[in-house]
């Protein structure tokens, strides 16, 4: 039977190899291969062009659509990527599996300007080594229609308020659903103690939910069509919708809290172009790059203290998310095991089946 499993592994390898054949064009002498979410900063056309102008190095992207996919791609394409954007909570898991190697901050000059608590977080620093360069952080919270709410809501309870029945656009994501129900119930969103209570709380959303969305673009279409008074969405998407599309939206950090994430720049084991990777990391955490991202609207918050100055006073991120008392209420995501992820998905699918009854 082990032989069969070895065959299975080989088949997976072959499939990955075939996929790679499709992805790899003729190998360019100097390029940096980045694994990231689509539209998450590193692939901004102006940034890629500017970096190539400065260094002569091309930036090539491959995209993921979920956290587990990051791991699958790193496992099946060893020695292919130079940089991987990782939620800081998953860095240790990637390191333990040997998927990423330690980085040398001395090679990234701008890392001197990083906020110390971002740079030195135990999520990126363990075993006496540095496993990732702190890059950005952001939030997932309640977004509201400013034409419907003359005064911003303050509590997560508004999502369950019958006054907004059939007007809530919910992120179709098991993890966020569990985390927000936990917050609303006063449970620890990282280690919820009572999943049955969470299941009941999510079921109570049945009359409230208008539609589910998965990609940021789907959410934007819903808001543009005035389908929702309230949404659960990434705060930087709300900012982008307000700035780029002039939509009447803003967001809150509710009194029960909001979910937040930190992203780091990590280096996959045996990268083909470590030097280029360090140069691009240095560019990505620079004030200059962040200024460009802020200008188009919808950037998360930089981990670089000098770069954050580029956030204009008018930005929602500055007015709401980075207020000291709001930051205190943020729950930065901790790691989630595969088993927990599966449990959450089963619970969420069961809840959605109940919605469809």
């Amino acid at each position: 039977m082990t032989r069969w499993i070895a065959y299975g592994r080989r088949i997976v390898g072959m499939m990955a190899g075939l996929a790679m054949l499709g992805a790899t064009s003729v190998a360019v002498a100097d390029e940096v291969r980045v694994l990231n979410w689509k539209g998450w900063g590193t692939d901004e056309a102006w940034a890629v062009a500017e970096f190539e102008k400065q260094t002569g190095t091309k930036v090539v992207h491959d995209y993921i659509t979920s956290f587990p996919e990051t791991f699958t791609k790193l496992r099946t394409n060893p020695g292919y990527y130079d940089i991987v954007v990782l939620n800081a909570a998953f860095v240790e898991k990637a390191a333990r599996e040997g998927l990423i190697q330690a980085v040398d901050p001395a090679m990234v000059a701008n890392s001197a300007d990083l906020y110390p608590d971002m740079r030195d977080t135990p999520q990126l620093n363990f075993d006496g080594k540095v496993w990732g360069i702190a890059w950005v952080w952001g939030g997932t919270s309640v977004t509201y229609d400013t034409e419907v709410f003359k005064t911003p809501p303050t509590s997560l309870d508004v999502l369950w308020d019958p006054a907004h029945a059939d007007r809530v656009c919910w992120r179709d994501n098991a993890e966020d659903s569990v985390r927000f129900a936990a917050l609303a119930l006063g449970q620890n969103p990282d280690q919820p103690e009572d999943l049955d209570a969470i299941r009941e709380k999510l079921r109570a959303l049945k009359p409230q939910v208008k539609a589910f969305w998965k990609s940021g673009d789907e959410w934007l279409k819903l808001v543009a069509a005035k389908e929702c008074d309230l949404s659960i969405v990434w705060t930087n998407n709300t900012e982008a919708a307000a700035v780029q599309d002039n939509l009447p939206v803003s967001f809150i950090v509710a009194k029960q809290g909001a979910v937040a994430f930190r992203d780091g720049l990590a280096m996959p084991t045996n990268p083909p172009n470590a030097k280029g990777a360090y140069a691009f990391m240095n560019y990505l955490i620079s004030k200059e790059f962040y200024a460009g991202w802020v200008k188009i609207g919808g950037a998360p918050v930089s981990a670089n203290s000098k770069a954050v100055e580029e956030l204009p006073d008018s930005s929602l991120t500055r007015q709401v998310l980075t207020q000291p008392d709001a930051i205190k209420r943020l729950n930065f995501k901790g790691p989630l095991s595969d088993e927990e992820r599966q449990t959450y998905l089963d619970l969420w699918q069961e809840t959605k089946a109940y919605f469809a009854e």
Partner: protein, 286 residues
Amino acid sequence: MAREKRRWVAYGLTVPSYLWLAVTVFLPLIVMLYFSFLSKMPFGTAEPVLTLKHYKSFLDRDFYHFLTWRSVKLGFHVTFFCLIIGFPAAYILARKVHGRWREAILLLIVLPFWSNTLIRIFAWTMVLRTNGLVDQMVHAIIPGAPSVGILYSYPAIVIGLVHSFIPYMILTCYISLQAIEDSMIEAGRVLGASSLSIFWRIILPLSLPGVVVGVVLIFVPVVGAFMEPRILGGRQSIMLGTVIEDQFTEVFNWPLGAALSFILLAIVMAIFAACYPLLRNRMKLT
């Protein structure tokens, strides 16, 4: 001798296509079948073992049964509407419309196939939503009418899928309908059959193969549909297809996703097997 040789030539010419089918259809299916018996994907340091737990979890979880029924029901609804709209359309096209018009209409039917499915589905969101095209038209005619936005509902999913799949039904019915010889119908008339009995006794039985092919081509993919329900269904969006999709994309539990796919495949095949004797008798009438 020459015949023998010709037969070998025929084999030689068909082998590549059979080989291609075997590689593209059966190999991935067999790999997926194998995965469905693994405890987890053989990635990295994982040590998977052979197990039936994914098949068992289908039996254990009531909401999987509910969603399977939902998906099968969706398949029936969409196929039914494709049939009652598509068959008359094909009939008129094959028996009543002639010449250049027929080509033009056929082209119009095939035209939607040239655009991306996702674009078509998003176009429907603009038509069906409250304050969308249909809603605005109704309000232009009857001011003060209640809102008729049906986006984010089960009927919206059915409408989107019927639009996506109806060309299959029209084309397969058209092919079998236009192959019916006029002399058959004339013979029926000469023998005094009414239009209705000509339809029941001649046209419908002779066109049945086209109908059956259309039904199979539509029912099978609709039962597994996930993209259209997700975008058009709102609170009603969950189907067994979306559950399978999430196993692959959200948690990378390919084994469970594969097991659910094979269960769905088995159910679809069982439905066709149950219908087979019925069809066979019907076709014998001809």
